[in-house]
């Protein structure tokens, strides 16, 4: 039953208050018809026995108190899904998005509630399949696995778009039969940036295996709330019902959070840190936790959310709360970027929490974990030496510190840095690690199991 009301009493920001509504359910989908016939959408945000508060997805400009006809549709926000979505570009509400996509709307196979439901922890399967991204700084150090959520923390002006596009291009599972697709959700990014992704996807043929949801900077900010939910609903459908392995890229989460703050402010809620609502953590979790694998189902959802840290500040609520939910983070570093290192991956501060289950014998190679630990320890020592050298000069460093200093330099230049179209396989990455460690004395290899050290770096070599 559809009920129509013209009893709007207040419009403020993205919110609309309607009086005397009966039988409306919390979170119900709403249609608002403007005098010129234009249809806007919204959902019920709060109800009491008299008033109903509606959040407008496309913003309130042009809506009026007397002329808006408000219809309650008796269902929650849904997305029509089908396999035809592959290769298509949609807007934040699941309609074809011109000018990127001018084809007619898809014929949905079924409708799905965009909020999803929490995966039962008992039903989850632990992510353990190594995804080779072709980046040494990811594969070797902060390994990504299928079903993981690993965000990229970036800053304005850093090449996160290029990194994300390269991952989407190169990612593969070793020996895995490929049934792989990318779901890409853009929230509030510029036309240029969106165009870069679409072009890159088209050029490399990735577009045929991609579903894109696009909300540009010029689109209504409020639509950014539903955009990632639409994308994840599409991803869940493809992964769990069509057995596909889905990589979801969400960019830029900062814009998403700002839209959330806008609504919270309009509702006059008690603000948390920096004006973001107190439930920001819960809200972000309801997106990020939709990554994963499920026992007995073939597909998987791997998430790479991208966010730009205001002033490169990692303690800002958005990166902070994201880091507490996601399974690690890849941090791009401005200093490295200025040195011309691409990708400017800050391997010290980056982390992949799930790497331990995804690396080692039969996955990457038995020496991977030890090698990783040793490389990190050595790079850290090298960076300490560098700090010391700034004060004292290189000559004043101990011979050992000088070796560490040289190591850190080579590590950045040869290991972290690589070309925008260079994809290194895992063997190459690991061998490169050993090659670099040999710049140091063998007795410094404290993090490596003695047996493995003998195998990959026989003792005789050390004395030469």
């Amino acid at each position: 039953m559809i009920r129509e009301y013209t009893t709007t009493v207040e419009i403020s920001g993205p919110l609309m208050l309607v009086d005397g509504v009966e039988g409306v359910a919390y979170e119900e989908l709403v249609e608002i018809e403007l005098p010129d016939g234009e249809i806007r959408h919204g959902k019920v945000l709060e109800i009491d026995s008299r008033m109903t508060l509606i959040q407008l997805f496309e913003g309130s400009s042009g809506t009026g108190i007397t002329e808006s006809r408000v219809r309650f549709l008796g269902k929650q926000v849904e997305l029509g899904v089908s396999e035809e979505m592959l290769g298509r570009v949609f807007d934040g509400q699941g309609r074809p998005r011109a000018p990127f996509d001018t084809a007619p709307p898809i014929v949905p196979e079924k409708m799905k509630n965009i909020n999803g439901a929490p995966i039962n922890p008992c039903a989850r399967d632990y992510p353990a399949e190594f995804i080779q991204t072709g980046f040494s700084s990811i594969d070797g150090i902060n390994t990504l696995v299928r079903g993981q959520k690993l965000p990229v923390f970036s800053g304005s002006g850093l090449p996160h778009a290029a990194v994300a596009a390269q991952i989407a291009r190169q990612a593969k599972v070793i020996g895995g039969g490929e049934n792989f697709a990318v779901v890409f959700a853009a929230m509030g990014i510029t036309f240029e940036e969106a165009d870069y992704f679409i072009r890159d996807f088209r050029k490399t043929g990735a577009m045929d295996r991609a579903v894109v949801f696009m909300n540009l900077a010029s689109d209504p900010a409020i639509e950014r709330i539903s955009t990632p939910r639409m994308a994840l609903t599409a991803a869940e459908y493809l992964a769990y019902e069509k057995d596909m392995h889905i990589l979801v890229i969400l960019t830029d989460m900062t814009n998403y959070c700002d839209a959330l703050r806008e609504i919270s402010a309009a509702r006059k809620e008690v603000p948390g840190r920096r004006g973001y609502p107190g439930y920001l953590y819960t809200d972000l979790a309801s997106l990020y936790e939709r990554a994963g694998r499920i026992k007995g189902r073939k597909g998987s959802i791997t998430q790479i959310p991208i966010l730009t840290m205001p002033e490169d500040d990692k303690t800002h609520p958005i990166p902070d709360l994201t880091g507490y939910i996601t399974e690690g983070q890849l941090i791009l570093n401005r200093e490295l970027h200025k040195k011309g290192i691409y990708p400017p991956m800050d391997v010290m501060e980056s982390l992949s929490r799930l790497k331990d289950k995804g690396i080692g014998k039969n996955k990457t190679r038995e020496d991977h974990a030890d090698l990783f630990n040793q490389l990190m320890a050595a790079y850290s020592a090298g960076k300490d030496a560098k700090e010391l050298a700034v004060i004292l000069g290189v000559a004043a460093l101990s011979p050992l510190d000088q070796k560490y200093l040289a190591f850190a330099h080579e590590y950045e230049k040869k290991y972290i840095s690589q070309g925008e179209h260079e994809s290194r396989n895992i063997e190459e990455t690991l061998d490169l690690g050993w090659e670099l460690l040999k710049l140091l004395p063998r007795s410094e290899m404290k993090r490596i199991d003695p047996g493995r050290l003998d195998k990959y770096w026989p003792e005789e070599v050390a004395s030469s």
Binding site: A25, Y26, E27, E28, E46, I47, D48, S49, Q76, A117, P118, I119, N120, P121, C122, A123, R124, D125, Y126, G147, Q148, E269, V270, P271, G272, R273, G278, Y279, Y281, T282, A285, Y288, E289, G292, I294, K314, H316, P317, D320, G323, I325, E327, G328, Q329, M348, E349, D356, K357, A369, N373, A377, S380, L388, I391, L392, S398, S443, K446, D449, P450
Partner: protein, 589 residues
Amino acid sequence: MISGTIDKIAGPLVVADGMKDARMYDLVYVSDYKLIGEIIELKEDKASIQVYEETGGLKPGDPVTATGKPLSVELGPGLVTAIYDGIQRPLDEIRKVAGDWITRGISIRGLDHGKEWDFAPVATVGLKVTGGEVLGSVPETKLITHKVMVPPEVSGEITWMIEAGKYNIDTIIAKLKTSDGSTVELPMYHNWPVRKPRPIAEKKAPEEPLITGQRVIDAFFPLGKGGTACVPGPFGSGKTVIQHQLAKWADAEMVVYVGCGERGNEMTDVLQEFPELEDPKTGEPLILRTVLVANTSNMPVAAREASVYTGITIGEYFRDMGYSVALMADSTSRWAEAMREMSGRLEEMPGEEGYPAYLGTRIAEFYERAGNVKCIGGDRSGALTVVGAVSPAGGDLSDPVVQSTLRVVKVFWSLQARLAYARHFPAIGWLDSYSLYTDNLKDYYDEKLGTEWVPMIKEAISLLQQEANLLEIARLVGAESLSPEDQLILFTARSLREDFLHQNAFHDVDTYTSITKQKIMMEVIMHTSAEMKKAIRSSVSPGELFELPLKEEIARMSYIPEDRLDDIEAIKKHVNSQINDLIEKEQIA
């Protein structure tokens, strides 16, 4: 039954009319979906209800029924190995009913009421019993013998006891005649409200350490059985790994792990790993002594608030049986945030950072439920140790949750991002962490490890403090210009850090170190330091000393298995001979 109707819905908060006779914290069923909620505010005839499930689709006018009982858990055989959500619904059963995603309005009881257990009576007819007294026992798992007790606050004379046999938990196993002449029938389980601490006879100070196999904890900042600890740290500093390591290796007889508002995959990790890992003491799978409470970050926020109470009530129940129980709560910040969210929706006046003003009280009440206790009803001692992870915003320790927690806990393991970046794990900072139990535990250590252990640890900590000061100077003038003695301090402190404190949780051997091995390792390092000091006095140059091959041997100590501790002992001899060679060479020259 008190029934009313929904007036207002805002997220997890529902306000209902017609609830004048309801009581605070009563359990209610909301709408025809029968969503579970709890009354958290009463105003005239309106009740504010926090709902433990998604509220989408609810309408004003929908019915609300109060049960007249507070939120409770079922306590009886069948708890061990279970995985529950925040309000004690078994997640594996939910999966059987609802599939891979959690849907709403599923009502499943915490215990399996059909399963039959081998019950052996202990108490006899005619005995006068009070709350906590053991009526009989059930071998629940290979590791846990479940003691079926008279519920607290019940007492009387046993008029009938069931014979030994196989029964389900609904079977009446005993009848009591109470002082007022009425008869109480006792099944194998009872309910207990989660927000009410279970009574104890007496609380004592912790006397024994909870051995965790983690060197930095056992040696430097030990936790007493029945004590409290907190682990605050920014993301990525290894809070969860430490909690997992404690759940795996701590020598508690029973472990309750509460995943409060954290990642789904982490709970899956525990679920998949614990049935396979062996308890170092008994060789049996760890899951046989574990109860899991999982309310992941995307599950309803109000149930997150309840999950820590559900967990600690189960912990107290096993403590009452006389077990040493360890409870890990990861993370208490999410619990506090859930409180903040509900407080905000109730439009309460916020305290610091939007948290409710009663935050500190709630945290203190929670940690006070830990303790080394004499149990009620018989001569049993039990202990409930609580370790809470805290996730402060931006890693800033001035966070209200951290500060409120530090006011009540006795052990502080300070996780540092700087150490985590250098991949020094566990990233527990040795300069600002503390344990207030070291004095209580001295007698235990003197007896188990000899009286030399405590002074040796004090010396090691002091060396690390001196290192911090010396590094400041070394940064200005260079390490080479320090005196040989000071250079030795730097050398020893580095060895302490890298060869003792650093521990690889993912290495088969290194993941657990017995206190015996910890002592030998520490002795080797301190012995080396003492011998080097002698050599320096005999004018051997520090450079030569620090390049000796003994360094490599010491670095590999942690990988030597527990059954080859003599190999570590032997290092001392190598140290002596290598250093003596240098001294002799120096004397000849």
